[in-house]
């Protein structure tokens, strides 16, 4: 047990003096702890792990201090209390170790209320026990004269607490290691490495060395062995902030070096000179003390100077502002603010506040006239006077400088300043253009404006001119873009209205065309209906008329039919061209339509003994046609085939499918179409005439309409004709679907 006790406290190693080396290492360790504590406090991210880590470092620092105290304590009571306190801080150390590990790299406080309370309670118990006789009861002298603490009954509890903290910490560590990734993992690795090193060193130098080699010297340097963990963890925590502190470190190191060098030189000089001159030998301790004091004085000179300066400034120059700070603040405002109103207001408020001025105003100038006034403390309307424009002219002659009341020479200007209670007037310029005028009233303290004040204002004026210019430009741009937007909207609206009007007009036109065709239909067809009606009435009585009268009536009937056909054809064309003809295309079986057409054309044959034959070849798919209109087409071609045929001739009608088309072929054995007329047959009112076909009746519109209808249905019409041999017309229609035949042969 005494071995353990001595390991914990480092005491009990026989006959070792505590050398200055140990003291030095101790001081270094303490300084390192303090430094790291400061670094962590200042640079680490402000979360709960920072607090726990600071407690950890502090408790470790205190622990090594009391531990060291234990080394050098000579009397039992002091020794007892140092070892007790060592254990006290050790318990806090373990607790904070666990808490820190638990909270490390977590965003929120990971400790739940109850668990935390219990743990804290446990620690409170153990900590209070360490200071009681239950853990270290008393101190006794060993055989070799060393002080050895005697262990009490509660030591087990202490050990339990420490062990618990350590185990829980390790558990947290392992858990974190498993679920953290990326940068967090790297930070954790640093921490773990530090922990590992510390552990290794403590184990190796404190325990193993003693156990195996009975070598206890190294135990004393335990305060160094605990450092790696702190160092590595601190590094992990502020690693990303190191960019900030690099210059700081560099400066500190160079300053330290300087201090050390100067101190050494001084001390050496002192040592040598005194020794030589005064022939006195200086005690080693005196030498060291002098050297230490010099170093301290040098190190603390700068901060002390700053502190004193600040103190005096606060006491004597309460009104004083820091010019650098004020300029920085103003520059910040000018960078941040782009809105003109906000910019001017902020500048004026900051100036009046920091320099403790009663009033300030900015006159915004454009074209040598005052365009706007913004004032703090000055009534704005009062300053918008043309008189003040004189100041603008003055600016030209005085350059960039500010005009201060006290130094004015021109009596008129003095009067002006007095009238409006202006003390300083500074022009704000951009290149050669005057942008604004800064007017300042008297200071609150009544003091005059100092040299540095004016310098500050001049420097500020240079920058402010640009800032105000930019703000003005920004306002312009905003206004311009708003105007642009408005114009674009206006234009769009106008365009839309025009479009709508055009559309309505177009619709009106279409409707008119429609109506015209309409009305035309009505007007034309009505008398024709009357003629045909009366002819029909007469038809019965016809048989009682003389022969020539009958023939005349027949001619009238024929003529009226012709007229009727013409009107119907014309109307059909007119409707198609006016765009009011609707062709409803649907997949249809062609064959029945053809048969019906043939049936209707038979009467036309009359006595002429023309044979009409219909052949279907293969499976014929449905074609995309408008049935009614296609009937017309069929009738047209068939009637032509009959009309232009010879007596006793033939009409061959073939229906078949080719690729994705349905083909209707009508061949006649007639007189054909003369070669020179063949390219005209589809023209309006064109009627092919040959010797034999002079008497054929027709309007000349049939083929035109036929082609129009066929093309409207998405088909094609072709023909070939040999004079005296006959003509073949072929109509190609789109098949519904090449693979879906609807009718079979």
């Amino acid at each position: 047990m005494s071995v353990f006790a001595s390991l914990v406290t480092g005491a009990g190693a026989p006959g070792i003096n505590y050398t200055p080396v140990e003291l030095l290492t101790f001081i270094i360790a303490v300084l390192a702890h303090v430094f790291l504590l400061a670094v962590i406090w200042h640079f680490a991210p402000r979360n709960i792990s920072r607090y726990f880590f600071c407690i950890f470092i502090a408790s470790q620092l205190l622990w090594i201090s009391t531990n060291y105290g234990g080394f050098i304590a000579r009397d039992p009571v002091t020794f007892l209390w140092t070892v007790r306190f060592t254990l006290f801080f050790a318990s806090l150390h373990s607790l904070s170790f666990f808490l820190f590990i638990r909270a490390f790299l977590e965003d929120k406080n990971p400790l739940t209320g109850r668990f935390f309370a219990v743990l804290l309670g446990f620690w409170a118990l153990v900590a209070s026990l360490t200071l009681s006789p239950f853990i270290f009861s008393r101190v006794e002298f060993s055989s070799s004269g060393e002080l050895i603490p005697q262990i009490g009954i509660a030591m087990l509890l202490f050990g339990l607490f420490i062990g618990l903290c350590v185990l829980m910490a390790f558990y947290s560590l392992i858990e974190k290691y498993r679920h953290l990734r990326g940068r967090a993992r790297i930070q954790l690795s640093y921490l773990t490495l530090g922990l590992f090193l510390t552990f290794l060193m403590v184990l190796g130098f404190s325990f193993l060395n003693f156990i195996f080699f009975k070598e206890a010297t190294t135990v004393r340097f335990a305060h160094l062995y605990v450092l790696p963990f702190v160092v590595f963890t601190s590094f992990a925590m502020v690693k990303h902030r190191l960019l900030d502190i690099r210059p700081l470190i560099a400066r500190t190191i160079s300053f330290l070096l300087l201090t050390i060098i100067v101190a050494i030189v001084y001390a050496l000089a002192l040592f040598l000179v005194v020794q030589k001159v005064a022939d006195v030998s200086i005690d080693r301790w005196v030498f060291l003390t002098a050297w230490a004091l010099t170093s301290i004085a040098m190190l603390t000179f700068q901060p002390l100077q700053n502190l004193l300066e600040r103190l005096t400034r606060t006491i004597f120059f309460r009104e004083q502002y820091d010019p650098e700070q004020l300029l920085a603040a103003l520059t910040n405002i000018m960078i941040e603010t782009i809105d003109l109103d906000a910019l001017t207001t902020r500048i004026l408020t900051t100036l009046t506040r920091e320099m403790r001025i009663t009033k300030a105003a900015l006159l915004l100038i454009h074209d040598h006239t005052i365009r706007a006034v913004r004032g703090v403390g000055y009534p704005e309307q009062e300053l918008a006077q043309p008189e003040l424009e004189e100041l603008i002219h003055l600016m030209r002659s005085s350059g960039q400088q500010a005009l201060v009341f006290e130094y004015l020479e021109d009596e008129n200007v003095r009067k002006l300043f007095r009238k409006y209670d202006i003390v300083v007037s500074t022009p704000l310029r951009v290149e050669n253009e005057k942008v604004a005028l800064l007017l300042l009233g008297p200071k609150a303290s009544g003091d005059i404006y100092s040299e540095s004040d004016v310098t500050l204002l001049t420097i500020f004026a240079g920058e402010a001119g640009v800032a105000i210019q930019n703000a003005k430009a920004y306002t312009e741009i905003k206004r311009f873009s708003k105007e642009l937007e408005r114009r674009v909207e206006e234009r769009t609206r106008q365009l839309r209205e025009t479009q709508e009007r055009e559309l309505t007009k177009a619709q009106d036109v279409a409707r008119l065309k429609d109506e015209f065709v309409f009305i035309a239909a009505h007007e034309l067809r009505t008398p024709i209906t009357a003629i045909r009606g009366f002819l029909e009435m007469v038809a019965e009585a016809k048989k009682d008329f003389p022969k020539d009268a009958q023939e005349n009536l027949n001619y009238i009937a024929a003529a009226s039919n012709h007229l009727n056909q013409l009107v119907e054809d014309l109307l059909e064309i007119a409707r198609s061209e006016a765009g009011v003809m609707k062709v409803a295309v649907e997949p249809t079986d062609i064959a029945p339509l053809v048969e019906a057409g043939i049936g209707e054309v038979l009467p036309l044959i009359g006595q002429r003994r023309i044979q009409v034959q219909f052949h279907r070849r293969g499976t014929i798919p449905r074609a995309l046609v408008d049935a009614k209109k296609f009937k017309e087409v069929i009738m047209n071609i068939l009637s032509n085939a009959v009309k232009y045929n010879r007596d006793g001739g033939e009409v061959d009608v073939n229906l078949f499918a080719v690729e994705s088309s349905v083909v209707l072929e009508i061949r006649d054995t007639g007189y054909g179409i003369p070669m020179e007329q063949q390219d005209k047959i589809f023209q309006k009112f064109f009627r092919a005439r040959g010797k034999e076909t002079q008497e054929v009746l027709g309007t000349g519109l049939g083929l035109f309409i036929t082609r129009m209808l066929v093309e409207k249905m998405g088909g094609q019409i072709q023909f070939s004709s040999l004079p005296q041999e006959g003509t073949t017309f072929a109509i190609l229609l789109q098949a519904e679907n090449a693979s879906q035949p609807a009718s079979s042969a």
Partner: protein
């Protein structure tokens, strides 16, 4: 054969056609009364209460469809059969007429006089 007193009213603005149809129906022994515009036609419907009306569409003033609508709206008259007899062969007009309650729609240029008479008589004898 419908009784000779069965009355037909023809509303048609073209006098030639009026003469034509009157003659055609007279051959069948039917007397046809006529009105030359929509307003007169409507009044005659109210006074004469014909069983069937042959109605032209395009007339000056009140057109045939308006007359048809007025007839079918009136409780007293809506039982009257109306056949539209016109040159207008537009689908919309045909549909509108049918929607308004016309029993037939005859297109003058397409049908023979005889057919017109036949179909009218058929409607007249149907009850």
């Amino acid at each position: 054969m419908p009784p000779p007193s069965a009355s037909i009213l023809l509303v048609e603005d073209n006098p030639l056609l009026v003469g034509l149809y009157k003659a055609a129906f007279a051959k069948r022994g039917l007397a046809v009364k006529s009105a030359s515009d929509g307003k007169t036609g409507l009044e005659m419907v109210k006074t004469d209460k014909p069983r069937l009306i042959l109605l032209d569409i395009y007339m000056p003033g009140m057109d045939g469809l308006a007359v048809l609508e007025a007839i079918k709206k009136s409780r007293a008259l809506k039982a009257t059969k109306v056949i539209v007899l016109t040159v207008v062969d537009r689908k919309e007009t045909r549909e509108k007429a049918s929607q308004l309650g016309a029993v037939d729609y005859l297109i003058k240029p397409e049908l023979k006089l005889e057919e017109i008479v036949e179909r009218t008589l058929r409607h007249l004898s149907e009850n």
